[in-house]
């Protein structure tokens, strides 16, 4: 077994209660690493098996027992000295929110502690007919009754299970009421405030009646070449400490420091993307958060960047005495996009998202979509049951946050996500989503590359599978003009492929502000004992992205779905530095498909052969 792996995959069938383990297949690991990549490989095997049994991919119910949920660490996870080794990735065959592949990533402690408990990956099949939780303590695996935990919040569930299991390296990943109630943007939460936020994977867990996974252990992750690893890790550490973004910007202000710069660039979506500059944005900025709400920082396990925030709202109607975050995306979605400029209320809403288990991006965006639908007369007053759904109302934001988790009142409509909501009320164009996933906090009319990324991301409207904001706005690794569509296809492809490597290693995307594919090749070679080059690493990333694309093609997603909301393609930016701009998607997409070797959003057989992807 190569270094970096515990060597075991745990398979749990919740329908039968059977538990078994299988070894990591080194041949697969060499081609797909771990984390997202290995999970994508396994998901494709399930699709093949289902097809052989007569279940077509498009007939897989995301909330049915046939959906498969995979918790996946990678060879970098849990190794002291590896850059940000505290993360893990979760994937599902299908997302209930989008119908595309389910995918999310989280920090904290769960990933490393899962390996210390003895497993690289946990594969959840079937569905239980009563609430259960999975306990993995130093290789001892048990499914246990969770009737007493069902209905509890994320915080209570976590505290109870940590106390019940005890031990030093103990961590809980669980769902809150939102996941139990099959809210479409339900998250899987770990270590109380860390979220596998996107694509509604909490609802998949809820549909299986799996309340939690608790892991605990003291096993060590083997490293194949310790001396080489020390050299590579020291070099990475030096680069991270030298880069002002990873050594100063992120630790001091956290991710919300982006609010002001993205607003100044005229691309901070405001009031459901009707406007892209908000004169009051500084009220909810990282600087304001740091000055008025920050108590301390809480890094993920083993991370030297330490961007995590611990915050507090001292008094008032939105008092929260301990919370974590909010991150840039949460501040934007719950604040700027809804027009709510009271940071107290944004922190409270974000806190409720953690406590009840929801994705603040999709939640905030769906509330913003509802606000526009209401203000334009699509939602009748009586449907709101007393909620004053005008833009900028902090009380409506906080009330709809908890109501959504419980599907109570108008929260039942928010719980569908913006795509279904806007369709129900007859204005589908007002959902700011791609493939059903709400887009994050950058208007691509002001940075064209991120528009191509949103359109082509396999999981839907996503920025962190190809973060071209780095070169377009933040000058990392070099500055490129955000307003031109020229050359963006190449950047998007490189970022998407490289991010697959990051999510399969699994470590933090923020490392890539200082580390490139060369550093990843050195680190992974030293850990695993393989001899990987920079080209090998990028090829692995490309292979993962293509196989993931093959999977979503099987669900019916193709070129027609690689698109953007009409507002971004046809409505010129109304004001600001990007005034008059739209996204020239067709031009970028054509170039992107050529670079990818895809036709109409589908990898060609030649491309798959070239990447040694066996279907």
């Amino acid at each position: 077994m190569p270094g970096g792996y515990m060597g075991k995959i745990l398979y749990v069938d919740l329908s039968s209660g059977s538990i078994k383990e299988e070894p990591i297949d080194e041949e697969v690991a060499r081609k797909y690493l771990g984390g997202k990549g290995y999970a994508v490989y396994l998901l494709y095997q399930y699709l093949k098996e289902y097809e052989a049994r007569g279940l077509a991919p498009q007939d897989i119910d995301p909330l049915g027992p046939e959906n498969v949920l995979i918790f996946a660490t990678g060879p970098g996870t849990g190794i002291p000295g590896f850059p940000s080794p505290g993360r893990y990735h979760v994937m599902a065959l299908r997302s209930p929110l989008t119908g595309s592949i389910g995918s999310g990533n989280s920090g904290g402690e769960f990933g490393p502690f899962m390996k210390f408990a003895g497993y690289d990956m946990i594969v959840i099949e079937g569905a239980s007919d009563r609430p259960v939780y999975l306990s993995i303590v130093n290789g001892e695996v048990e499914l246990k009754d969770a009737s007493d935990l069902w209905g509890m919040t994320v915080f209570d569930t976590t505290r109870i299970l940590k106390k019940r299991v005890g031990g030093k390296n103990t961590s809980v990943a669980c769902i809150g009421p939102a996941g139990e109630n099959l809210v479409m943007m339900a998250a899987i939460m770990n270590d109380e405030h860390r979220a596998v936020g996107r694509t509604g994977l909490g609802a998949v867990m809820g549909s299986k009646m799996l309340k939690a996974i608790v892991v605990s252990g003291d096993q060590q992750v083997p490293v194949a070449r310790p001396e080489d690893f020390k050299k590579a890790a020291d070099k990475a550490r030096e680069l991270l400490m030298k880069d002002p973004v990873t050594s100063e910007g992120l630790p001091k202000y956290g991710t919300a420091v982006l609010v002001n710069i993205i607003n100044q660039a005229g691309m901070l979506p405001f009031k459901n993307w009707q406007f892209e500059y908000n004169p009051d944005a500084d009220k909810i900025s990282g600087e304001t958060l740091e000055k008025e709400y920050l108590i301390k920082r809480r890094p993920c396990w083993g991370c030297i960047i330490g961007c995590g925030r611990v915050t507090k709202v001292q008094m008032g109607p939105y008092q929260v005495l301990y919370s974590e975050g909010p991150e840039y995306e949460s501040v934007w979605a719950l604040g700027n996009d809804t027009g709510v400029m009271e940071l107290d209320a944004v922190i409270k809403s974000n806190h409720l998202c953690d406590e009840l288990g929801m994705d603040p991006i999709s939640l905030g965006s769906t509330i913003a979509c509802a606000m526009e639908l209401y203000e334009k007369g699509y939602i009748p007053e009586e449907d709101l049951q007393g909620v004053d759904l005008k833009f900028g109302n902090p009380a409506a934001l906080v009330e709809l946050t908890w109501r959504t988790a419980y599907k109570s009142g108008f929260g039942k409509m928010i719980a569908m996500g913006s795509k279904r909501l806007a369709e129900v009320y007859g204005a589908p164009e007002l959902s700011m989503s791609v493939k059903g996933l709400e887009m994050p906090a950058y208007d691509p009319r002001g940075a064209k590359g991120i528009g191509l990324e949103y359109a082509t991301s396999n999981r839907g409207g996503c920025h962190v599978t190809g973060y071209t904001i780095a070169p377009e706005i933040l000058s990392h690794p070099e500055k490129i003009d955000p307003l031109t569509p020229e050359g963006k296809a190449k950047w998007v492809k490189i970022f998407q492929d490289f991010t697959c490597v990051v999510n399969s290693t699994v470590n933090c995307l923020f490392d890539t502000f200082a580390l490139g594919a060369g550093e990843y090749a050195e680190l992974l070679s030293a850990v695993t004992g393989w001899d990987l080059t920079e080209d090998d690493v990028m090829r692995i990333g490309e292979r993962i992205y293509n196989l993931e694309r093959v999977i979503i093609n099987r669900y019916g997603f193709d070129g027609k779905d690689d698109t953007l909301p009409r507002r971004l393609l046809e409505e010129p930016m109304p004001e600001g530095p990007a005034k008059g701009q739209v996204v020239e998607l067709d031009k970028m997409l054509k170039e992107y498909y050529e670079l990818r070797g895809w036709v109409d959003g589908k990898p060609t057989p030649e491309k798959l052969r070239e990447l040694e992807i066996e279907l």
Binding site: D243, P244, I261, Y277, A470, I473, L474, K479
Partner: protein, 97 residues
């Protein structure tokens, strides 16, 4: 005489204790003149925070004129003549996700 608004963010805001300055420039003044006018108010070391040894905008600063990064202009913003109502924003290296 054009009046230009200078905005500071993150560590620059903290170091100099101001969020924004309204500055009056001589006609035809550019970024250098703006930064010199700011240094009159903020202290001489402000200049070294925004300009390099050769007097050009520092490579590791994000400097925007009306939302456009000066690095997206042909000469890193050196030929820009600031006009009345222009907004110049200066950021240290920052990022997020």
């Amino acid at each position: 005489m054009p009046r230009v608004r200078l905005l500071l963010f993150a560590t620059l805001r903290e170091k100099f204790g101001v969020k924004e300055l309204d500055l009056e420039l001589g006609r035809g003044g550019g970024l250098r003149e703006l930064f010199e006018a700011a240094a009159d108010r903020l202290g001489g070391d402000f200049l070294s925070e925004v300009l390099d040894d050769s007097g050009l905008p520092r490579d590791d600063r994000i400097i925007m004129v009306n939302g456009r990064n000066v690095k997206d202009t042909p000469d890193r913003g050196t030929s820009i003549r600031l006009a009345d109502g222009d907004v110049v924003a200066v950021f240290p290296p920052i990022a997020g996700g």
